[in-house]
Symmetry: C3
Subunit: 342 residues, 3 copies
Amino acid sequence: MTKTNSGRFFEDYTLGQVIQHAVPRTVSGGERALYHALYPARHALHSSDTFAQSCGLPASPMDDLITFHTVFGKTVPDVSLNAVANLGYAEGRFLAPVYPGDTLTSRSEVIGIKQNSNGKSGVVYVRTTGTNQHGTDVLSYVRWVMVRKGDLNAPAPETVIPDLGKVVAVDDLVIPEGLNFSDYDFGLAGEPHRWGDYQVGEIIDHVDGVTIEEAEHMLATRLWQNTAKVHFDATNREDGKRLIYGGHVISMARALSFNGLANAQMIVGLNGGAHANPCFSGDTIRAWTEVLDRADTDAPGVGALRLRLVATKGKAGPLKGEDGKYAPDVLLDLDYWALIPQ
Amino acid sequence: MTKTNSGRFFEDYTLGQVIQHAVPRTVSGGERALYHALYPARHALHSSDTFAQSCGLPASPMDDLITFHTVFGKTVPDVSLNAVANLGYAEGRFLAPVYPGDTLTSRSEVIGIKQNSNGKSGVVYVRTTGTNQHGTDVLSYVRWVMVRKGDLNAPAPETVIPDLGKVVAVDDLVIPEGLNFSDYDFGLAGEPHRWGDYQVGEIIDHVDGVTIEEAEHMLATRLWQNTAKVHFDATNREDGKRLIYGGHVISMARALSFNGLANAQMIVGLNGGAHANPCFSGDTIRAWTEVLDRADTDAPGVGALRLRLVATKGKAGPLKGEDGKYAPDVLLDLDYWALIPQ
Amino acid sequence: MTKTNSGRFFEDYTLGQVIQHAVPRTVSGGERALYHALYPARHALHSSDTFAQSCGLPASPMDDLITFHTVFGKTVPDVSLNAVANLGYAEGRFLAPVYPGDTLTSRSEVIGIKQNSNGKSGVVYVRTTGTNQHGTDVLSYVRWVMVRKGDLNAPAPETVIPDLGKVVAVDDLVIPEGLNFSDYDFGLAGEPHRWGDYQVGEIIDHVDGVTIEEAEHMLATRLWQNTAKVHFDATNREDGKRLIYGGHVISMARALSFNGLANAQMIVGLNGGAHANPCFSGDTIRAWTEVLDRADTDAPGVGALRLRLVATKGKAGPLKGEDGKYAPDVLLDLDYWALIPQ
């Protein structure tokens, strides 16, 4: 019997199945420093203990996307090793900040399943939850992937498609305990724009571009213990290219969005997301944001913005073509909630 | 109104103006580890808690250039986003060591201003100060940059050129509290040469060379939250090259200088510096040092050396041509004070 | 007199000579995070404080190979700066775990010496010991290198070849104090295979491959303060290639071996090793393991496996040719003891 993990195939998933993912991970100032080296991340709350403390937190939490990548990375050997495509995200909620010294684990529940009509693959929906060493959940999100069948003769399961919200309701967003933007220092944060300055429909071009190198995206992807071989093995594709982990594009775009959204400090909800086209080394990533919605919260001085973050690999053009498909230069279309001072 | 930062133009600076730079930064063992991965840094005081403690310090301080880059990086969005050239440094003094856990902020005061005769740009002199979370200043230095005018019709300001010292006076150097080289372990430090072994005029060829990769200089420059797009965006120049942050060359040359100056443990003064020519990926950096001066200090066993550190991208040749200009292979000409056991 | 280190030549070594290597190093969560970014390391004991605590340790120790590289790196300026070849390892024992905050030093004793018949070089055997800030030895190993003579007229020393064990005896392996695999969580570790599931002679193909970039191996090699110029200076060889530090291949192969050996948590013995062929940027590293032996230990639930870890740069083929030499695709042949739950 082989001892190596060949990953789950479509027929290995059943509705209600719960998978405890392996390799808990303790994060430290090391992961934070690497995050700052890999992305032009400048949001002050994730950069400075003193700034975070002035906002009511005990210390500077790890970037929310460090939490996302760490939790996500653990699911790869169980969920997406035989995945054909990462189809979407929904109902993502950041439930508690993660601090240096915390240890994260991940588990996933299969909440939907549907064999494709070709009989060769199917779609699996999982709700993944990240938990810290105190048993507190820190993140929950749904993603669905297309997975190959290993045994084409395996019977098709009964189709169950979960009823997923198109957007996380404002009342379901979890504001970190103690967060208070009443004494927020806009000068130290880097921009004067507050919640009320953003209008629904407003588009912000984040201006800057970053050209991606092989070494960087591999460092990043390994850091999250994401083992998908397409990211690391240049012999894996006929064209010799290594596919860049979609999360690398998310973090790059989010970091670029500092320029125009410096005060959108924390991500609290992930409404949806699509990796529209693959990204490769040598691509220059740019980003723009559309303000989709605004909401009040109960926390002092804290408002929420619903933002569409789009990453492109060329100059920004139309998002979609006449056929309704993403334009070839679009890499990412992400819909999230962020907290910003009022 | 655009929400993104287009940077200050020449006419946006006024004499006496004080700019509080954004994004305070807490540093940790992560930044230190990355520094060791990015540069061949081996000075024992910055590598080992026990060595630093044997020299009277509470723990190993962050490399002095981590402090410099962190403080400098914060100034970029306010001072050099529209800079044509980084012209020089003067009166740099390291005022207190920085330790893991410290949070740094930067502010700059405009101390000089002069419009160029072409009316299209001007020179701005700023004195930048870095401060830790206790309100203690950790670094102060002057730099001057050439900045484009945004509005060519803006009136020229009255010219004020600050009277800058050519060298930081020995009495103005700040020796870290408690520093004591009386029981200095030359074996653990790596070389036997002490203060008295260096002669004014002596030249030390540091022998080793390091070939630079794109991924490395971008990791380094992002780590200091330096956002100048020329370092990251391959589409920014017609030749597709990314200009390497001058500070990357400073750190590389300083680290290479371990070989011959292993005991020049701490940088305490920055007398001047010029980025003589641009550096690009693929260049192989070498370094040599000329001993410019020697001085005694009040701290037990602690002497100071004034050193000229020159980085080249080929084999060392003459520093300047017959026209008085730097030879094309010279990247850096840095004049600094370092502390060394007597 | 030159102040730079030209390294020792063959005639500079004498039997019994003890060399205290320079530059003690304090490690932190930063080195650990970089290790995870550089290698696909996933062994749970080195990834998670909570997992390590469930195994009886106070916290997650640094990866054993971080200890090896840190101790090894310090020896380079004294032992292998003029080395022609790194010939072998023997009698390696990990004596105590290393934790964030620990400071490591290295010393070596010359235990064997033999001039080559050509009179131009010789072989030097050193036993290197790494020690932490409490004076506790953390690692001991023998390596032998071929070193050039500086003065061809220097007389040949009396030949002494140490009597080195071909394998570290099980009784000589040091099990970390408190280590207990009685309550080992195979689910969190990532695989169900325990000590009894591995058979002597069994071969495990670790499946995955990683293509190496220049920036990565240089970051890694610098991180261990290994200064050998062949790794960094593209002008050093006529073909413009930078030779990759053999330890980079060791760590890459060991990390790849997670897939099939996820429970072989700790390396405790290094029986031997050969860097069979040089590795260069662009090579895609794969790995396979042969189970060489199994042994019981006194620690609760803890067994030991003797493993041969082979790294190749192409698809796995025969290890050696008909001439008894390593096949050209073989990079590494490492023989080590690992601890695994029974």
